[in-house]
């Protein structure tokens, strides 16, 4: 995919790739997003504003230029800013892709850093020579003033013009606690929020300290995402509970919302309000207890953000998604196009339905095995649908699965025809 190279949050031609719960893909203009939201749904967004988290300065012991990127802290409390986890880059700026940036000097506990008006001391090295904890030697107010005036938002090498702080704040941005923009929220403006509410959906927010998504260093990236504190207002928890009660969907704007809600989720899909710290990795085996659909940017395979998408749809579907997005010239990265994924991972209930309808599930199969078969049947259904018809009695590699087929047909109004030889 092509990187979006202009820091425009809502380009008028932005697109939205939509995957329904069956894995079927359609393409829309992104301003149509409210049309995908139904009465009774709740749309949850991350209202964190983006910190100017990139601090240029000097590593005092070696007098070498460094860039310090704030990457994590213990809580969202605005008084709790003395200690940060940071990633250190060597000399240079964003015009050099991070993977080509020189390494910083060796960093040892006790080393002093001078970052514009801010002074910091290296506290410890955290499992990687460039991932360290620093302590700022100032009052809380002076730390905030230093960050606000000297810091710049983290820049992107594929956006040639410098990205300004206002480019990184979503329209709903509130507390400045995100290290990088919660960029899925760029889809929102006040008209979109009004349109969602006019459709009878609810709009709610949480605050989550969206962290650095990649550093250009494979070993360091494997440590991501770092633990991320979040705060779920009681009004949002109530909104979600009401939504679950009426059978609506919880639609998360961005991977950070999924991470926070799933971390706070009870087994019944409601969430615990208040502060927490999301520590879990979300991936293909993560059951989604709260969130039913996600709006996201198009993430690169192998990143922790991409893995969140794998909790919603099978890899085979995501491969189709990437193929279509590539073919149609979708733009990627923060200011790019978006995807809307419904939770389509077959549930055990789906599999049992399929199994009951036709008895194709051999007795003694594990539930996970059954789920995998339903996935492969689905992919075959799509292959058939792309040819223009669905065989009346489709034979899948495992067995005939009419139950899955019938539900697919009723959801898609796809023509069912008698295949040759049927």
């Amino acid at each position: 995919m092509i990187p979006a190279s202009v820091a425009t949050q809502r380009p008028p031609d932005a697109r939205l790739l939509v995957i329904d719960k069956w894995g079927a893909i359609t393409h829309r203009v992104r301003v149509d997003f409210p049309a995908l939201v139904d009465e009774g749904d709740v749309v949850v967004a991350n209202d964190a504003a983006t910190l100017p988290a990139s601090l240029a300065g000097i590593h005092v012991p070696t007098a070498s230029a460094v860039e310090v990127r704030l990457a994590g802290r213990d809580s969202l409390r605005t008084r709790d800013v003395t200690r940060f986890t940071v990633v250190v880059f060597g000399a240079g700026d964003f015009r050099t892709p991070t993977e080509h940036r020189p390494a910083p000097p060796a960093l040892d506990p006790g080393d002093r850093l001078r970052l514009g008006p801010l002074r910091a001391i290296v506290q410890k090295v955290l499992g990687h020579p460039r991932l360290i904890e620093v302590r700022f030697e100032h009052t809380v107010a002076d730390i905030w003033e230093g960050l606000a005036r000297h810091g710049r938002p983290i820049q992107y090498s594929y956006v040639p013009e410098p990205t300004a702080i206002w480019d990184t704040w979503t329209p709903i941005a509130g507390l400045p606690v995100a290290f990088e923009a919660p960029s899925a929220g760029f889809i929102l403006d006040w008209r979109v929020i009004g349109a969602l509410c006019a459709r009878g959906a609810a709009f709610a927010t949480l605050t989550h300290a969206a962290g650095i998504s990649s550093t250009g260093d494979a070993r360091l990236d494997r440590l991501l995402p770092l633990d991320e504190p979040y705060d779920i207002p009681s009004s949002t928890a109530a909104s979600i509970e009401a939504c679950k009660g009426r059978g609506g969907r919880v639609i998360a704007i961005g991977t950070t919302v999924v991470r926070a809600l799933e971390h706070a989720a009870h087994a019944d899909g409601t969430v615990r309000p208040g502060e927490g710290t999301a520590t879990q990795r979300i991936g293909p085996l993560t059951p989604l207890r709260c969130v039913d659909a996600i709006v996201s940017g198009t993430h690169e395979r192998g990143t922790s953000h991409y893995d969140v998408l794998r909790a919603f749809q099978d890899d085979a579907v995501l491969v189709r998604m990437e193929r279509e997005a590539d073919a149609l010239g979708y733009r990627t990265h923060e200011f790019g196009d978006s995807v809307f994924l419904s939770d389509g991972r077959p549930t055990v209930a789906d599999a049992e339905l399929a199994s009951a309808s036709e008895g194709w599930c051999g007795r003694g199969d594990s539930k996970r095995g059954v789920v995998a078969r339903v996935s492969s049947c689905r992919e075959m259904l799509f292959a058939s649908a792309n040819r223009g018809f669905i065989p009346r009695s489709m034979t899948c590699p495992v067995a005939s699965c009419r139950g899955v087929r019938d539900r697919f047909v009723s959801d898609h109004a796809a023509p069912v025809v008698t295949n040759r030889g049927d």
Partner: protein, 283 residues
């Protein structure tokens, strides 16, 4: 964090002189959590010393580059926001001159301070104000206006035109943000004995001018800030509609003020104009 903060969280621009400084003291004295903004560090530090607990922020609302640093520091100091008072004002060219003698750059500067600055800062803080509304805290934006916004006084062209634009901006925003639960009001505090007034009308009889403290008390009432217990009995300090101080929850304080659109009339009721007897309070 969410729901914990019971104090009213208030940001005031132009907080080191005149009405702004009086507001820092009045609202701080009523127990609100206050952050204030002004251009000069000495003034900011002075007022911060006068009112311990209030956070002073150095910034110029007329400068685009200052807006987000101001917003970041306001939010860091308050942890959220319930009331934004856009009070910082520029007279335009001083001494006052007719429009025909006003340099275009001076008009631009007046617009930057009196119109574009409040617009930018409000926009940067709108996400927080909307979050406050969702938590039932009934957020409010107060834009400090002037009778010069409505009456065409000769010599007050740059100031009057920029305040007229701010006044109209407030009314439109009030309509548009009602559905978000954010109230926007434009308030004329009256002719006050302030440094700004002295610049505009050097020879004015100060005894005829209203004290900024009195105007600050009226605006504090409109903000829904409770009077401190020591002041509850002194009726003479209450200018404007009486404010009951026995209400426990922040959200309900303003909600029960029919003049502020409370009283369960639904979101549209939020746009009900504010009227303070004896003063032209415009919306």
């Amino acid at each position: 964090m969410s729901g914990e903060q019971q104090q009213l969280r208030i940001a005031i621009t132009g907080g080191t002189s005149g009405l702004g400084r009086a507001l820092v003291h009045e609202l701080g004295g009523r127990g609100a959590l206050v952050a204030f903004v002004a251009r000069h560090r000495e003034g900011v530090e002075r007022v911060a010393r006068e009112r311990p607990g209030a956070t002073g922020i150095v910034g110029d609302v007329s400068r685009k580059e200052d807006i987000h640093p101001i917003a970041i520091q306001v939010l860091a100091a308050l942890g959220g926001l319930d009331v934004l008072i856009n009070n910082a004002s520029s007279l335009g060219p001083v001494p006052l001159v007719p429009l025909a003698d006003t340099d275009c750059e001076d008009l631009e500067l007046a617009l930057a301070t009196n119109l574009v600055g409040p617009f930018r800062l409000t926009k940067a803080l709108l996400g927080t104000l909307a979050a406050s509304a969702r938590e039932g805290r009934r957020p409010l934006v107060v834009n400090v206006s002037s009778d010069a916004a409505l009456t065409p006084y000769a010599g007050w062209g740059a100031y009057g035109a920029s305040k007229a634009a701010l006044h109209h901006l407030s009314r439109i925003w009030s309509e548009e943000l009602a559905s978000e639960g954010i109230r926007v009001v434009s308030i004329d505090p009256g002719d006050m004995d302030t440094p700004l007034h002295a610049l505009a009308v050097p020879g004015a009889d100060r005894s005829t001018l209203k004290s900024p403290d009195a105007a600050a008390r009226e605006i504090a009432d409109i903000c829904g800030a409770d009077l401190p217990p020591s002041h509850e009995a002194s009726a003479d300090r209450r200018v404007g509609p009486p404010v009951r101080t026995d209400r426990p929850a922040l959200a309900s304080r303003v909600a029960q003020r029919p003049d502020l659109g409370g009283g369960g009339n639904g979101p549209r009721g939020l746009t009900t104009p504010v009227a303070v007897p004896g003063h032209e309070v415009v919306q």
